[in-house]
Symmetry: C5
Subunit: 356 residues, 5 copies
Amino acid sequence: MSRHPSARLSRHAGHAPGELVHIGETKTAEPRILLIEFSPEHYQETTFASLAASRTHQPGDGTLWLNVYGLQDVAMMAEIGRRFQLHPLVMEDVLNTHQRPKIEDYGDYIFIVTHVFDYHPASRTLSEEQISMVLGRNVVLTFQERPAGRFQPLRERLKNGIGQGRRLGAGYLAYSLLDVIVDQYFVTLDQLGDTVEELDTRLLAGQADGGTLARIHTLKMALLSLRRALWPLREAVMTLQHGDSALLDDETRVYLRDVYDHLVHLLETVDMQRDLIAGMVDLYISTQSNQMNRQMRFLTVIATLFMPLTLISSIYGMNFEYMPELHWKWGYFIVLGVMAAIAAGMGYLFKRWRWW
Amino acid sequence: MSRHPSARLSRHAGHAPGELVHIGETKTAEPRILLIEFSPEHYQETTFASLAASRTHQPGDGTLWLNVYGLQDVAMMAEIGRRFQLHPLVMEDVLNTHQRPKIEDYGDYIFIVTHVFDYHPASRTLSEEQISMVLGRNVVLTFQERPAGRFQPLRERLKNGIGQGRRLGAGYLAYSLLDVIVDQYFVTLDQLGDTVEELDTRLLAGQADGGTLARIHTLKMALLSLRRALWPLREAVMTLQHGDSALLDDETRVYLRDVYDHLVHLLETVDMQRDLIAGMVDLYISTQSNQMNRQMRFLTVIATLFMPLTLISSIYGMNFEYMPELHWKWGYFIVLGVMAAIAAGMGYLFKRWRWW
Amino acid sequence: MSRHPSARLSRHAGHAPGELVHIGETKTAEPRILLIEFSPEHYQETTFASLAASRTHQPGDGTLWLNVYGLQDVAMMAEIGRRFQLHPLVMEDVLNTHQRPKIEDYGDYIFIVTHVFDYHPASRTLSEEQISMVLGRNVVLTFQERPAGRFQPLRERLKNGIGQGRRLGAGYLAYSLLDVIVDQYFVTLDQLGDTVEELDTRLLAGQADGGTLARIHTLKMALLSLRRALWPLREAVMTLQHGDSALLDDETRVYLRDVYDHLVHLLETVDMQRDLIAGMVDLYISTQSNQMNRQMRFLTVIATLFMPLTLISSIYGMNFEYMPELHWKWGYFIVLGVMAAIAAGMGYLFKRWRWW
Amino acid sequence: MSRHPSARLSRHAGHAPGELVHIGETKTAEPRILLIEFSPEHYQETTFASLAASRTHQPGDGTLWLNVYGLQDVAMMAEIGRRFQLHPLVMEDVLNTHQRPKIEDYGDYIFIVTHVFDYHPASRTLSEEQISMVLGRNVVLTFQERPAGRFQPLRERLKNGIGQGRRLGAGYLAYSLLDVIVDQYFVTLDQLGDTVEELDTRLLAGQADGGTLARIHTLKMALLSLRRALWPLREAVMTLQHGDSALLDDETRVYLRDVYDHLVHLLETVDMQRDLIAGMVDLYISTQSNQMNRQMRFLTVIATLFMPLTLISSIYGMNFEYMPELHWKWGYFIVLGVMAAIAAGMGYLFKRWRWW
Amino acid sequence: MSRHPSARLSRHAGHAPGELVHIGETKTAEPRILLIEFSPEHYQETTFASLAASRTHQPGDGTLWLNVYGLQDVAMMAEIGRRFQLHPLVMEDVLNTHQRPKIEDYGDYIFIVTHVFDYHPASRTLSEEQISMVLGRNVVLTFQERPAGRFQPLRERLKNGIGQGRRLGAGYLAYSLLDVIVDQYFVTLDQLGDTVEELDTRLLAGQADGGTLARIHTLKMALLSLRRALWPLREAVMTLQHGDSALLDDETRVYLRDVYDHLVHLLETVDMQRDLIAGMVDLYISTQSNQMNRQMRFLTVIATLFMPLTLISSIYGMNFEYMPELHWKWGYFIVLGVMAAIAAGMGYLFKRWRWW
């Protein structure tokens, strides 16, 4: 995650609408395509090293799931767009990885853009990846910036025919992908929560140093990034769930409501974390300032204590000819005694006023 | 209540949708099932130690109320789900005790998730428990994490045929359960209110110590937890009340409006408490800082008072050969007198400026 | 008004829904019932000391207005509820004086709960009273905690046939009661406004003492109480005005719009007052802190002024054998002159920098 | 503009609804009525000193525009109300000049209440005036507190037949009046903007004195007054524009949309000004506090500089019998040199640390 | 961008509605008109130096795109308005360059007002330009304050027949213009983002000087200006996209949704930037204040360190006859040693307390 959110937003400016330009980092060396075909009865995986290789493949009757890893090959992406008859804007959005999360119904297919975050506790940074999906009749396309193995358990379940995945087809597959993506947020949020807790412990133990506030600032920005990605996704899922697209049957819609609930829960947790951090910071600043003030008062009290003592000794340092006390035998000791008494008296007073 | 809200949110990530996993602490040793059957004419309670024992039980014609205490026996929960033909997601939510409060209409039954809070004044902590309900035709299921006796008065009223409970059946029973749950919030809020009042008294009496702000922070988080649990419940009850489910008759809907009113009242009270706390803290910080400033000024005034006196005595400590005053007979006493006059004058001035 | 809003909210918890319990202080010694019957042609008042006395009373054809003062006689209230066929929840709400303001349409009658505030400038406290109303066909019931004479002018106008009160019947009577209640808010707000103005004058005149901020806090809580009572009432009146209840004719609805306008005006005035107070406090704190800082700088400037003077006199107090200046004839006076010059120079500098 | 917004809100309390009472200052000596009659072909002005004089006047066929200046003659107002068959609440609102801006559709006529503000740069005060309008079929009534000449250009245009005013009749006239009123806000806001700019310049030039924050507070309250008057007017104009009143034809509605745009623009400008002021104040306080802190540090640095010097001279002022340095020939000058070196060294250090 | 937003808002006040007045700076010397005619088959550009020259031009069958640069020639603008039968308010808005962004459907044509911002990094200022458009049947009018070459790439694409521009006609052209305008915001926001990043780096490196906060204030105002221009545009585009105007076909509406997404993205980025700036400022102020407090404590610690030393030396400067220590041989050195020990002890203590 770049700290500065507008990073190169303008790279697309000057291009015509629908013109395909890959905007974003290239995160994998070689684009790769993985095709999965399944029906309630069978399951088959095919990997294509290049698009040329795939041209001769003849798909069967079941549901098609096309995984694309790596977005930098614009020509390949254009061909995919043409083959599945996607709107030029769809492919433009797939390639521009600074897209907002959204779900758009194009009638024949539904286009879904989501973001996934990975937290790296060592460097305390978030990395963000855009995952786009197209849900058509009997077909699901997924576009990822690199192979991250996120959907591997899903493929395992499909392969082994566990659950209702094979029976319910493309709509349920799209839901399952969303579910995996949303579950990843729980993981990320848990890790962020651990960092929050660690910082909290440190603050309360008074071990905060100069970098602590800066780290809290980074944490706040990370939570804000999650919020920005979750909020539009929540809206989009709600629209999808209440929509009337023929691509989703009622059975799948019930599951979408579950995804929606998870998103609401995530948003609330993010907000709770943000409140927690805000409270932590306030408490820390207030404690810090209080402590500093007490220290200054302590120092000032000490200074005040010495004032009368210094005055007295200064008085008896005067060179007047006639100062009777100077000639008293015990004058010196009496003065020392008086000083001690004054110091003790003031000390007692300040103690009673709780100023030390 | 864990202080860190995301605590182990991610435990479900990686499981398939609808796969049953118990998420949350195990709060009772042995799951227990209590079956209540009632009609306007009769009332009968049966306790089953295990699910096996219940399989032979033949229910009668009336309304069925199945109480489940303890959620850790996943196999038992799965069987209950199957027997009452509940959607897999319902049982998943029952077992995951970090669910948001919600009310979902599945057509044949309504699924209700609520949270209940108990305040422990001694440790100043809130404990949270999830209570799920399923309202079907002539049947109510309740799932609690442990037997807490919350619904005992309700069972007594049913047993003794007091009120309209027996006559109005399952819908009214579900309302009564909600009513008990909402009433518990009033109790919790009263106890929190007592803590707020105690803190307020302490702050105004100037007895706040280092832990006070931390305690206020905890209190704020507790109120926030209540708010988070009440807000979605309010929405859900409103949706239920205005919905068209055949499981609730008009007579019961009027009572639901009453529950809704209570929830609004609770939310307002929570917000009022939060305003009160915010005001208390502001007042405290402002008073504190004001007092600290006055003390610093007082000390600085004292220091300033000694400045000219020390200068004078220092001047007459100089060793110049020709300093006529030194040879005056009353020089010493005159200087002492001048010092006293200066001190008195400054003291008077500071008094008039209200600087002490 | 209790300072702690949740005061004994939980007293109702544990009771069955619809069970009548009087919650709140008992504010009058003896419950009293005043029955008014009027038609365009006649007007008649009857006072009943007890409910028993009223049982024999045979009402005429016109509009009935039943005033109940004092709510503690639960049996009497229950009988009234039964006689006018009110829902158990209505009577429960009448008796629970911590109800939110609301207007509920029960079909045959409309139930209205409002709160009235009296400000006592001497003790600077608000007292709150709940006034409930039931508007039925040709009948209006009002329930007050004590006889306060609020509706006396209304009764006078009815008695003397002034205005359209007699002609327009129960709906217009309910409106008139609401109008009186809303007008009372204007009075209360004016009195609070006077207190605000008095505090403002005091703050600007620099006469704020320790209690001022606490008093402002109380004032803020009072305005918040008004806001809490006005906001739901506004919503309720709007719903009533736009509703389709047959109990209100179009002529009365126009008047309700006027009440609605007044409520909006009141809410805006409350918000304006709150802004005013917030601004006052900010201004005060800023002025206060600025003044304190200036005083500290003034004191520090004085201390700084004495530093070089004390150093010089200290230098000439050293006991070196060879210090030529000590033996100059005018050495002492030259040194005094140099000191004066330094003091004057620094004083001029600080003056130019506007540090005194 | 009174600084205290609730000023005598309660004066109407105790009066019956619809009872006419003039609430507000009397701003003109003698109420005056100006009647304008116009049709596409002709235009005629008649001034009546009293209502009696107007009774004999026989209006023609065209559009009637009745201007009333001065509201204190309650009897006259009542007669106007009766003659044009206005609802009692309309006349009550006309007379109560603390009304919120609003537009009410009474079927046969539309009642419009607006406020106009004049800014007096000399005294830096806003004066507020209520202008009420009634738009009926072929008739427009305007009620102003005093003759201010606001509508004079409009009358000129009507008289000289410029624009479409004569052709489009009463609806367009009402729009034109609203347009003039809204344009006056632009003038007021420009003048306030000049004051904001002047204050800004002063703050940045460091010429802020004690009164500046108080003046900013007044400015904020003035902007808030404008906002309070504009906000409901915006809502009202939108309702009117989208309404279906037969009194406004489609041609006029297009113009109303323009008024609506102006109101939105005004509101945004007010909010921008408020943000600007808030930013100014924050910047000023931050600069102020920073400067004060630097000054205190500067003074403390000076004090610290003198500490070691005073100690050294104090040491050589001790009266020990055996202090070898005292007998060195150049002891005195060496000590002076050491002092100078210490001062220079510390001065250099503080300089490097940028503490002066 | 004027820093003071209301700059001469009132210039239009006093003019009749629909009266044409040019409000705003004159930004180009000579108004110029560029007419483009195109159909799927051909493309033709004609430049007119004056309106007179254009009168003889006979347009062909295809789509007409009229570019007007420079708005000061009111007579010319009036003629354009008449020739295309535009509502007087449209031309008034075109000429008043302080218009809010908006899209108005006049039935036969749609009127669009937008603002474009250019950021000048050197002077760190934003310049704002209003671009108005009218989309009619087969005709698009654009009004710019000066020729800026923004639409040149668009004209190139049209000229060379690239993309679908020629085929899709006027609606798609209007969309393309909006797209160019919105893309310009990305460029501006990127440049602002660079400034934000530069400031951030400077703040973290501790190189902030007096002007930094003022510069941040300017930046905040610039982001606010963007927000103010984007917000209503977003609303307007949404209304247009969901509207039913016959001037836009379904194919173009899909593209409008893309513009809408960009606007939402821009608004989120602006808000993110504002959060970032707010966080930066808070962090800076907190760091600054913390550092200042540490410096003051350091200085006060030094002062406190010298207190006891000065007292001791002062004591042995007293002139008592009988002070045994003065006569000790090593008295002087013992006292120096004691002083050193005290200083070292206090230094160690302050070190352990981390006060240096």
